[in-house]
Point group: C2
Chain length 242, copies 2
DNA sequence: CGAGGGATTGAAGAGTGTCAAAGAGAGTGG
DNA sequence: CCACTCTCTTTGACACTCTTCAATCCCTCG
């Protein structure tokens, strides 16, 4: 059973990709090979739970997720913690710290994952030699700002259940964009991480998922999700059903 | 009384400034005069309630707030609405829409205000001729991403009262950065806008302010705020008091 | 096989939201 | 200049969602 599921949703990490995508805002086209000529890319593997970088460490590079998935975490002085996003294949990590001496957040692998390290000085040099690199980064950052604001809209206007529905639709859309099934997938993050991101408690998330299951909008068993009624989810998330 | 207050907190809009600051992340230094040589800046006045631009209109320019204040609003397909930020003198507006054909949100004046329009094609040209312009915009965008994430941390981890306390401290800090009093200021936005931004209802914001008043952390009368106990506010907002 | 973390579910309580009413200012028109 | 209107704000009472605390179950990993 578990093996079957894995086969159905496993990511073909070896498949080459030519898009540099960021967050949830569609692919940002850039010729990876051209970039590679100017920027030495180091492959970095991370075990589940391991960090790419932590807040306070010197900012030296940005990262491109190659396989697996990561969470970004914001930390407060008094110990409060907040998951601010999840990154998967094609997402850029670390751009939020551009302009700072040190990284502003933590990035932690949710599973065994791999990211490519792009030393920032080399990226800056590439901006001068490779057309569009600078513009792409700018647009990617703008997309990330928009992304954050659309999550604000969700937090501010949707109740718990609807928030969870919106989250599932977003996850499904991201899988679809990567070429995987939007109808059947495995959540990479724990209920606790999901709850933190959604500004809820993990029990509330669990209950919301159970209720979506009861409504036959989805079928959920621990981290495995099957979407049964996309329109039901959409109307719940406040998205036009057409 | 009202006149006295106005005098105490009025903004000397005529005072020239040499910093291009964005959002809440400190000033981004840039030589405005040098920029002006390459970018024609049109002064745009907006009456209270009037919009600079609305979601869906063609993206043609970014704006630099010169006087007054604005709110940015995100809109959902089903009519839900969310205030995502407040902008004041020195803040850049419109950068979130870079890379799009149309603006992604609404920007509305909270009072009679003035913004300088910077046509985006001219800004792009300036990037080629004026050193650092591109880098400044990139860093400003990165700062905006960080800013959004720190608000996420606040939403996700602070209860209503503490959220309001954090908001007041942030407003105070912004006034201080502009050279005004951090101890005595006028909120430019309605309780409803404040509540939307904080993901609360306006009655809850009103009650939270009343309670902060009862605790003698602040003194509030409609939109006029006096900060009496900064440390009290800070500890409530989860910020180190030292 | 046991240990431990993650997930689910229940019951009770706190914190916000909702609904309603009333007061205070600002702006308008007579 | 004053009365009037309208919006914004405040406050109360009550309802309800979400959180808290707790117990149980399940899966994974050593």
């Amino acid at each position: 059973m578990t093996a079957l599921v894995s086969a159905a949703v496993e990511m073909p990490a070896g498949k080459p990709y030519a898009l540099l995508a960021l967050a949830n805002d569609g692919g940002i086209g850039m010729d990876l090979e051209m970039l590679r000529q100017h920027v030495p890319m180091h492959r970095c593997k991370h075990a589940a739970g391991q960090g790419i970088y932590h807040a306070g460490q010197p900012f030296q590079a940005i990262y491109l997720v190659h396989a697996g998935s990561y969470k970004t975490c914001e930390l407060a002085e008094d110990g409060r913690e907040q998951v601010t996003g999840f990154r998967m294949r094609g997402d850029l990590i670390g751009v939020e710290s551009i302009g700072l001496k040190t990284y502003s957040c933590d990035v932690i692998a949710l599973e065994d994952s791999e990211a490519w390290e792009l030393p920032y000085p080399a990226v800056l040099r590439a901006c001068l030699h490779v057309p569009d690199v600078q513009a792409r980064i700018t647009e990617a950052l703008a997309a990330e700002v928009r992304n954050g604001r659309s999550w604000m809209l969700m937090f501010g206007t949707l109740a718990a259940e609807r928030r969870v529905a919106a989250f599932l639709l977003e996850v499904a859309a991201r899988y679809a964009r990567l070429g995987y099934s939007a109808r059947h997938f495995i959540l990479r993050m724990s209920r606790i991480d999901m709850a933190s991101f959604l500004a809820l408690k993990h029990e509330t998330v669990s209950r919301a998922l159970s209720r979506l299951d009861d409504l036959n909008y989805i079928n959920v068993q621990r981290r495995e999700v099957r979407v049964l009624d996309v329109d039901g989810l959409r109307s719940m998330a406040g998205v036009a059903v057409n």
